[in-house]
């Protein structure tokens, strides 16, 4: 993975975010919608780990805010959940960077698990949503999709390097 004192890959970040928002808004039929991985979080987390000198928790917070603003949620829900998740990840930053791909998937599973827990709890304050195991489906799908996502982001990063 490209690391070190590389310049900020702004184009790649913007493109990946637009892609994430597009994937986020694609309609999935019925219960399949519960399996949608939180693409925006995964991409923000990728940049957080790859570009620690440029991308920080503030960036993740801002992308969360963008997500809230764009999709008419209560403003701040995603910002809170995503930034707290990013903070927890940041404390384990050096360990996570050393992981091999299968363990990266496992890490993605836990990250999304934490995020979903935080996000659902912030939503429960103001909304009446029906819970169940489906709240944690995105964690599984994120773990499965992580190799593909990381590969795509790596190529994208290389392309605009």
């Amino acid at each position: 993975m490209p690391r070190g004192n590389s310049p900020l890959p702004l184009t790649a970040i913007c493109l990946s975010l637009i892609g994430a928002l597009f994937l986020y808004s694609l309609p999935l039929h019925g219960d399949l919608a519960f399996w949608r991985p939180p693409f925006v979080l995964l991409i923000a987390v990728y940049w957080l780990l790859i570009q620690p000198q440029h991308v920080g928790i503030t960036f993740v917070w801002l992308t969360g805010l963008l997500l809230d603003l764009l999709y008419g949620n209560v403003i701040g829900q995603n910002a809170l959940a995503m930034s707290v998740t990013a903070y927890l990840l940041k404390t384990q930053e050096y360990r996570v960077r050393q992981l091999s791909l299968p363990f990266q998937c496992l890490a993605a599973l836990f990250i999304v698990l934490i995020y979903q827990t935080l996000w659902v709890s912030t939503r429960l304050i103001s909304e009446d949503i029906s819970l169940g195991w489906r709240v944690f489906y995105p964690a599984l799908s994120s773990a499965l999709i992580w190799p593909l996502l990381a590969g795509t982001l790596y190529r994208l990063h290389r392309l605009f390097h």
Binding site: A33, I57, Y71, I75, G76, S130
Partner: protein
């Protein structure tokens, strides 16, 4: 980190309890539009597929079928005109308010909420087309939902299947009234607080009752699909299949309700609440 978390919490509190952050949603709408449009692409593609890749014979057969249907509807409509005239006469004899027809506006679906906990869609009509909060939205088969947020050129519609939605209905067979709730599942609604002794059967058609003055009366909401009687419970579980194709319809109608028009009727003493409405109903 703490600052960010606090800032997020403040925003959540502000947005939950005050309307101050609402303009932000309105300003950002144009940015969301492309993503919203993109989100309907698969549906559009399927529709285009259905339209363009049909063989000539099928199109001709379809056309024949539609023409016959139109003829049947026209015949029924002639009868309707007479009936509605009669009805109006009888109402005027009873000294009642004039029966007003609901006027409708065709709208197109331009976006679907990506959040699986929210059953909401976006339509391409907004404040510029006299759309207001609370108007009912229907498709060709039945009631779909109600307008909850209005922007300049489009608006958000909360679907009847959303878990937060409920509306008053009556049973076509015996006029029994009830409240129907969304279940968070596109194929199922729940009829609440039905006692085990009440007369309800699988297959009963439920129509909107117009009580609560939110939805116009008489639009199909759904048919009873299952009744689950548990002797230990005070009420029975009644599942209802929505009449509207809640997750499939692309063309919708916004209904400007007659009830609202009656509010502006000279007989009522109260000041007209919605001035834009009399124009809308006159369409």
């Amino acid at each position: 980190m703490l600052t960010l978390a606090l800032a997020a919490l403040t925003l959540i509190a502000l947005d939950s309890f005050t309307p101050w952050l609402r303009p932000a949603h309105v300003w950002l709408e144009p940015i969301v539009q492309p993503f919203q449009w993109a989100s309907t692409l698969p549906m559009r593609w399927r529709e285009w597929n259905d339209e363009s890749l049909e063989s000539r014979a099928v199109i001709i057969a379809n056309n024949d079928k539609l023409e016959t249907e139109i003829l049947v509807y026209k015949a029924q409509l002639q009868r309707m005109a007479e009936l509605s005239a009669q009805n109006q006469q009888l109402k005027s004899l009873l000294n009642g308010a004039e029966l007003l027809k609901n006027s409708v506006l065709v709208a197109e679906l331009v976006g679907i909420s990506p959040d699986p906990f929210h059953h909401a869609i976006t339509i391409n009509r907004g404040a510029a087309d006299n759309i207001r909060q609370g108007l009912a939205v229907i498709d060709g088969e039945g009631l779909m939902g109600q307008v909850t947020e209005v922007f300049e050129h489009h608006s958000r519609v909360l679907l009847i299947t959303d878990a937060r939605h409920a509306l008053p209905i009556y049973n076509l067979r015996n006029n029994m009234r009830g409240i129907i709730e969304g279940s968070g599942d596109f194929q199922r609604l729940r009829l609440r607080h039905v006692s085990p002794t009440q007369d309800i059967q699988v297959g009963d058609t439920l129509l909107s009752s117009g009580l609560g003055e939110r939805f116009p009366s008489g639009y199909p909401v759904g048919t009873v699909s299952a009744i689950d009687k548990d002797p230990g419970q005070a009420f029975i579980e009644v599942s209802v299949t929505p009449a509207a194709k809640v997750d499939r319809s692309l063309l919708l109608l916004v209904v400007f309700s007659a009830v609202e028009a009656l509010d502006n009727y000279p007989q009522t003493e109260s000041a007209p609440k919605n001035t834009g409405l009399s124009n809308a109903t006159g369409q």
